[in-house]
Symmetry: C2
Subunit: 360 residues, 2 copies
DNA sequence: CTGAAAGCGCTAACAG
DNA sequence: CTGTTAGCGCTTTCAG
């Protein structure tokens, strides 16, 4: 008969009491120390040693139960882009696990039809985005541009980090890449290949990222003294089909472009489809570039030249940012500063871009 | 002055007490009901209604603190297929949320190179797959076929559900689709289009799903009295590149097939690439079919005819299966039965398959 | 089959 | 700066 009280499993994990006993202080002092509250004289060392000695790890369950925090973060994403964000999700989950947090994930928007104007269940979200339920919110693009959602977050006054290419509204926390610079770089790559007649497929006009990417394109053109034809600007909606249609239009005109820079990889894949339909070979007769480094970018042929973004890291950083913000809030450290964490992107040159065709 | 006691935030979340009050029973009865313990007379209905009315959701922290369970499930997947499983992941997460569980997600295998034989960190996994840490494990393909992993799970004696097309080893819980039937159906679709010279690209030989899909293909051929040429069977590894290579070989031979059925959508996409490379138009000169209904299947052109599987539902069901198994264990209900939950697939006929070419 | 009592590990509130 | 007290929401005893 094993004399264990409850679980048949191994020995009980160390608690704050064990640490207190070992260090010769009260449990409360240990608790404060762990939470970085006010300062203790010299006992700080004793406690640290005690923690190590008994191998103490806080019990989230208990913390959540007693403290004001929920130890939960909520990530909100658009169903439409779920496959694209899986890496980011994994990154956030692993970061959460590290700091003893739980990650809730909520998809919004209609999965079947993205035709409708606003299929977002704002009320449902509002009930989730609440300090009583979560300590913080992570907003993924493109819903991080949604004004209604932004209002909800501000009204609920819950800490929030946006994963986006630009600052916005009242949300101070952000992690992202420099979309402008990335688009600028990509455009220069195209220009360095000899292209002078470039086209751009923008994303939806209400997404800030679309604008930034477009601006980067325009700036690079301007800085190289190249002309930008109005007819070379199309607007898609980040879907393969829209990329296909826009490209069909682009290639149907006289003096058609020799390089198409799509605002994202989906549309770039669509551009590839269009080229195929018209029997225009890529990259020999047409260069196509994407943006995002999405899985699809290496599932098509030719593989897409694109801007790769560190999705996993972005997921991790967003959680860490939220956590450190929370700590500062707790300590009362003033923290009304905008914090943007800008990560490095990578220009991935693959097979979909090449020199400008010589035969005209 | 708002009279709230602790948090300045909105109203407190519903507890078991609220439910008890609403239903007119003691909290204990509610607790028992939630845990499926012994049966209550008629109050079972009242409690159910009360739960809905007050919008009650169990507090994991509290449960974990008092009970012997960890209220955590662990999902293990292969990094390589992360994008494909995002839907499944979301399904599992939402199911977990519903039953008050926390979902841990662990990716295994090298992300960069899938060349190495076995880049799986078995020791790391072993320390996670432990009753003391998680109440159950969900194994995704293809790692759910990994013998070492299967051994670990059995040794740790932790409840486990596999998402797979076939039963295996000592793991009793499974959710999946009937891969054999699906492949059989797809093959018949191809045959009904008039094709008589069909090829198949198998997945890795050590995956049970590969074998089943192949068997379905072979059976359909046999049942239609069609001949199967050895040269029309190729083996890929579920990547675009392997699909491309296999197809190149397939189309390079004399008397080449008019339809290619790839074991998954990635390889089917590769087949499309190969056709494009050889200027063979799909579906006019060649039909291509995939399997999985992965995101990529509608990102390519022409869109892939494929077998769609209800990934989200599979994710949900896997959690529910684990949960009900746990309940039965707790109740002492004998439960050494194999439980397979087989979900419906759908044959999605899209643009990559068509009638057999008339011009030969 | 049901209820009451106790306690899981931790932290907010209040004293010292 | 520190300790005491109480209680978070739930489940495990243990009585009815």
């Amino acid at each position: 008969m094993s004399g264990s009280r409850r679980r048949t499993y191994s020995s009980r994990a160390a608690t704050i009491k064990d640490v207190a006993l070992e260090a010769g202080v009260s449990p409360m002092t240990v608790s404060r120390m762990i939470n970085g509250k006010s300062i203790k004289l010299s006992s700080i060392d004793k406690i640290k040693k005690a923690i190590k000695k008994v191998d103490y790890q806080p019990n989230i369950g208990a913390r959540r139960l007693s403290g004001g925090r929920t130890y939960q973060f909520l990530m909100i994403f658009s169903n439409q882009y779920i496959a694209y964000f899986s890496e980011l999700l994994i990154g956030s989950m692993s970061a959460c696990k590290k700091i003893g947090y739980n990650l809730l994930v909520e998809g919004v928007g209609d999965e079947e039809s993205d035709k409708k104007d606003s299929p977002i269940d704002y009320d449902g979200i509002a009930s989730l985005v609440d300090r009583a339920r979560v300590d913080g919110v992570i907003l993924l693009p493109p819903i991080c541009f949604d004004p209604v959602l932004l209002d909800i977050v501000r009204d609920k006054a819950v800490p929030c980090v946006r994963i986006a290419g630009s600052p916005a509204r009242d949300i101070n926390l952000r992690v992202g890449c420099d979309s402008f610079a990335a688009a600028y770089d990509m455009t220069n790559h195209l220009i360095s290949l000899g292209h002078t007649n470039l086209a751009f497929i923008k994303g939806p006009v209400n997404y800030a990222s679309s604008a930034l990417r477009y601006e980067g394109f325009v700036s690079a053109l301007r800085d190289s003294g190249l002309k930008l034809y109005d007819s070379n600007i199309k607007i898609g909606n980040y879907t393969v089909d829209s990329g296909l249609e826009c490209t069909l239009e682009l290639l149907g005109q006289e003096n058609r472009p020799t390089a198409i820079f799509a605002g994202d990889d989906q549309m770039a894949a669509g551009a590839l489809c269009a080229a195929q339909k018209l029997s225009i070979s890529v990259p020999e007769q047409l260069s196509v570039a994407g943006f995002d480094g999405a899985p699809i970018s290496h599932s098509v042929w030719p593989k897409l030249t694109t801007i790769w973004q560190p999705m996993k890291t972005m997921g991790e950083k967003s959680v860490e940012l939220l956590d450190s913000h929370l700590r500062q809030l707790e300590l009362g450290t003033s923290d009304n500063v905008r914090t943007s964490m800008i990560l490095d992107y990578e220009l991935k040159i693959r097979q979909s871009t090449g020199s400008v065709p010589t035969t005209r």
